[in-house]
């Protein structure tokens, strides 16, 4: 039965359209727009191919990377710094700017430091993508490969340092890397929790896989650290005292950093980071006592622990803010809350409608089953599903 509404709609479908002259004018404008915004391929197509097949294609020779960077100019390389996998400039970041920084790191120490930095970057990128909800299988493969490669390279460089006798630098580096891993482990755990609470789940939980990768590397890093720690080295008092005062300064700066971010973090997160800082403080006091007692080697090890704790708290605070894992910032809070409650309202209404529909269908069925007799009807209770807290 085609009612008036349906018939009117059908008629309108055929009769309502853009005025012919307007449509033509708009077309002309559109053509101008197409000319002004050409297809962005050409130069980057090679990189796009490379980015997709990261594990299969050998990386370009460093010299090539340098030449490219020079020809592209400072702007592009600078802009690529914040690129994430999937962005157009991401290949530039990986194959150009990072390669160059690798070349520029001349000493084995700088080299190792840079590889650690690279590995940290991969973790950072992964956590940003997960927080956004865009961490899909394709990106995952590339990122994780890059990450493990960076870690391997970092470890090799650290070994080079130890074999050349520079144990301290090696120890320092692997220590810092371990704390970066721990900080990310915590972040990924939080993201994982969020994922579990969210209505939609990403295919094959991205965070679970990430956690596995990080856990494995953490184990390695831990093993390496313990190896260093068991190598008792004769330390001189001056260097240990110097490290202690360095770390006290670092503590103060991390405290300042965290208190500047405090308004943006939740009570829980603030407490968490504070606890970390307190632990570091306690360790520093402990190290001082151990030093006074004459065990310089142990004091040094304790100082390393304190350093790790501080790095962790700084990275944690930074990531929590950057990724908005915590409570959203003031400006975004309202918008997010609004759209979230709108979505919830939508879902609730749909469920209600479907339930009502079901109830009505049941009613009809019951009536039919009983026949036209006027018996007492049992109407099934309404089922309400509450969504949200």
């Amino acid at each position: 039965m085609k009612n008036l509404f349906e018939k009117s709609c059908e008629h309108t479908q055929k009769s309502l359209h853009l005025p012919v002259s307007d449509k033509a004018a708009m077309r002309v404008e559109l053509i101008k727009y197409l000319e002004k915004n050409p297809i962005r391929r050409g130069f980057f197509s090679r990189f796009t191919v490379l980015a997709k097949g990261i594990s299969y294609i050998t990386k370009p020779v460093p010299v090539f990377a340098l030449l490219l960077a020079l020809s592209m100019g400072v702007g592009t390389t600078y802009a690529s710094e914040s690129a994430l996998p999937g962005d157009v400039l991401y290949p530039v970041k990986i194959y150009v700017t990072e390669e160059i920084r690798g070349i520029v790191a001349i000493t084995p120490e700088e080299s190792a430091q840079w590889e650690v930095e690279r590995a940290k970057r991969r973790l950072d990128e992964a956590s940003k993508l997960v927080a956004r909800g865009t961490y899909n299988a394709e990106l995952r493969a590339g990122l994780e490969t890059n990450f493990t490669e960076s870690v391997d390279r970092a470890q090799k460089r650290i070994l080079v340092l130890t074999s050349s006798g520079n144990d301290d630098a090696a120890f320092e580096m692997s220590s810092r890397f371990e704390s970066a891993l721990r900080a990310h482990q915590e972040i990924f755990n939080r993201l994982h929790e969020k994922e579990l609470h969210a209505a939609k789940k990403m295919e094959k939980s991205a965070t679970e896989d990430l956690l596995k990768v990080v856990d494995k590397q953490l184990e390695n890093a831990h093993t390496i650290r313990v190896t260093f720690e068991t190598k008792r080295v004769d330390r001189n008092r001056v260097s240990v005292e110097k490290k202690l005062s360095q770390l006290r300064n670092e503590l103060a700066s991390v405290r300042a950093f965290v208190s500047s971010r405090a308004p943006v973090l939740s009570v829980q997160s603030n407490a968490r980071v504070e606890t970390s800082i307190e632990t570091a403080n306690r360790l520093l006091d402990e190290a001082q006592a151990t030093m006074k007692a004459g065990d310089l080697a142990q004091a040094f090890i304790t100082l390393q622990s304190a350093g790790r704790e501080l790095t962790q708290s700084r990275m944690l605070a930074q990531s929590l803010v950057e990724l908005s894992i915590d409570e959203p910032r003031e400006q975004e809070r309202e918008e997010k809350a609004e759209s979230r409650s709108e979505k919830r309202e939508e879902i609730r209404r749909d469920r209600e409608d479907i339930n009502q529909d079901q109830t009505e269908k049941n009613k009809k069925q019951q009536i039919e089953a009983v026949g036209r007799k006027s018996l007492e009807m049992r109407i099934p209770g309404e089922v309400r599903i509450k969504i949200g807290r």
Partner: protein, 168 residues
């Protein structure tokens, strides 16, 4: 211009020729304003080109365009939440008063005024179904909700319409 690029332009313009009217119609029945609907149509195509020129591979251009238009319309709603009611009153068109006189087909203007009184998300579902001619399955795929939800929304939307305008 390289041949490949020229070809892409032609393909895109072909999509414009084919779907501009449909997008315009959809926008019109959602925002109740012909001029604004035209602007939104233009914006929709420009945004679509932005994505395509950056390498986005689009399998179903029609669905893609509708999705973009839908997002633009949602932004539109956020901007003018209170304006539409005033507009209705100003126009002097009182749908309820005239409802019983309808025998002939309603024109676009009358239809849009009727639809104005149907709240979201039912309105959009009805528009997509009866004015854009999508099947419930297609709507589900385009708007990324389940087909069940779509059917229910359409039913509810029609019910609301009939409540207010029994002769429909």
């Amino acid at each position: 211009m390289p041949v490949n690029e020229e070809k892409k332009h032609q393909e895109f313009l072909k999509a414009y020729d084919e779907f501009a009217d449909a997008i315009y119609r959809h926008c019109f029945f959602r925002v109740s304003d012909a001029a604004r609907a035209q602007e939104l149509t233009q914006d929709t195509f420009m945004r679509a080109w932005d994505s395509i020129s950056r390498g986005k591979v689009v399998e179903n251009i029609r669905a893609f365009l509708y999705r973009i238009a839908n997002n633009l319309i949602i932004d539109e709603y956020k901007k003018k939440k209170t304006a539409s009611l005033d507009e209705l009153v100003e126009d002097g068109f009182q749908p309820q008063a005239e409802a019983s006189d309808w025998n002939d087909l309603l024109d676009a203007k009358q239809l849009v005024k009727c639809l104005d009184s149907v709240e979201e998300p039912y309105r959009t579902a009805v528009v997509l179904r009866y004015l854009d001619g999508f099947s419930p399955k297609e709507i589900a795929a385009t708007m990324k909700v389940s087909a069940n939800v779509v059917s229910v929304r359409i039913t509810r939307g029609l019910e609301k319409l009939r409540q207010l305008f029994p002769s429909l």
